[in-house]
Point group: C2
Chain length 271, copies 2
């Protein structure tokens, strides 16, 4: 796997999910988790009160491409043993965002003080896993080459609503040569648990993207003349949906600081 | 499977490969074979002298996308038992084209008189099989809707040469909505024995196609504004290559009159 910026910075990069979580828990790792524990699944995090949990879980099931549910916790339980034996969600992510009624109230590096008996953890697959598979196949991912953030766009495609959860699909975009786009469809189809195949390619206007150079999140793309935009459902979708409905209380990971698990990306390949 | 024009014309359409070949052998079926024996593999046919056979077989192996070899015969043997127990290539295709030194010398409905002790049969997969899979998935194929011939183009992509066989890749094009193009990549990837996944999509100029409305073979496309061109390697490639090198002797099927086999399309799905 090509080394990422983070990997090149230090020779002491934790190589397993468990080692990564321990380094994070000790405060030895505070930066973006890209390149940490290569080959291990990293996840998007959403923590919601139990009163909203069943609707949110239903929302994930109805919208598996933007919201591929890796694991959900029991109410009040800060552990997710299916993703890591020792995993404690209160301490094992570098940085969090804590919202009350949709307002950001804190960005702590530990949520022990915010924990409540009714909170439910949701860990959702993230694009790092399929990007890993694309890089291993020799496909260049421009935002990684350029060390920028992948561009993300709000689309005109609506998610399927569940209870109070509703809103547009958010997509991430990677410019690829047509033959690589075809290969990328093949590769990412193998990983439905981490967004799976693209939802769209070429012609951004057909999904409501007016200006490809003006993403709603991330950096503007660096797209060559022999490349087409390829769009994947993005884990920002559930975050965007949750923020829109302004839940009484909610915690997410800080962008780029994901939950690192003990599961291998290869475990999630369906063939 | 949606009924094709041919199926709708008559209720006496043979439903199996064997029944189709018998009807052809008796002269009861003389038209295009599209829609005949639904679900059974149909093949492109090339018959060459043994002196050229090993180079041609190597050409097929080097270029599996345009030349997916279903079966090759023994020198002088007009049978291909792996594709049909009773199959006799001299009588079992509706119409043939016979070439001497690259010149068309006959278009018979039987090649018994042309048969020689040194001829080798090559049966190559054809797009009917993957089109069947696309139609079954509910993807509209415009040239079938419009009852026209799929547009085909000579590209700037070169095949890998073998002995005297060399020349450009020929592709067929089907206009599809982006989401259908992604689905089509997934579906046709399952069928490497019948051209497999597309070789290109969008941006025809990148593969040397100057005017998409002017195909080198077939009818101009009917492409809607929300569709992109999707290109598959085409079985016309080996025919074009063979014609270019002007073999001393060669027989092919007449366009649209394919070899109907006893093998099911589903047998060739790799998963």
């Amino acid at each position: 796997m090509p080394a990422t910026a983070q990997q090149r910075q230090t020779s002491a990069v934790p190589q397993t999910g468990e080692a990564a979580r321990r380094a994070i828990r000790r405060g030895d790792w505070t930066g973006p988790t890209s390149g940490l524990a290569p080959g291990y699944v990293q996840g998007n995090l959403a923590i919601l009160p139990a009163a909203l949990a069943s609707d949110f879980m239903r929302f994930c099931q109805l919208n598996p491409k933007p919201c591929p549910l890796l694991a959900a916790g029991a109410p009040g339980d800060p552990h997710l043993p299916s993703l890591g034996n020792d995993l404690d969600i209160r301490t094992d992510v570098c940085r969090y965002k804590v919202y009350r009624n949709g307002e950001l109230i804190d960005e702590p590096d530990d949520i022990t003080e915010h924990w409540r008996d009714d909170l439910v953890i949701f860990a959702l697959g993230c694009s790092f896993s399929f990007e890993d598979a694309l890089l291993q196949d020799g496909i260049e991912l421009r935002h990684i080459t350029n060390r920028t953030t992948v561009p993300m766009y709000r689309t005109s495609i609506q998610t399927t609503p569940a209870g109070p959860f509703h809103g547009p699909l958010v997509v991430s975009m990677r410019p690829l040569k047509p033959a690589d786009a075809i290969r990328a469809v093949q590769i990412t189809t193998r990983f439905p648990a981490v967004h799976g195949a693209p939802v769209h390619l070429g012609m951004p206007e057909l999904i409501g993207i007016k200006d490809i150079m003006k993403p709603d999140w991330g950096d503007p793309p660096d797209m060559h003349s022999d490349e087409m935009p390829v769009f994947w459902a993005c884990g920002v979708t559930p975050q965007s949906v949750v923020m829109t409905m302004k839940p009484e209380f909610c915690i997410t990971h800080y962008p780029g600081r994901m939950l690192v698990t003990d599961r291998k990306n290869s475990e999630f390949a369906i063939m």
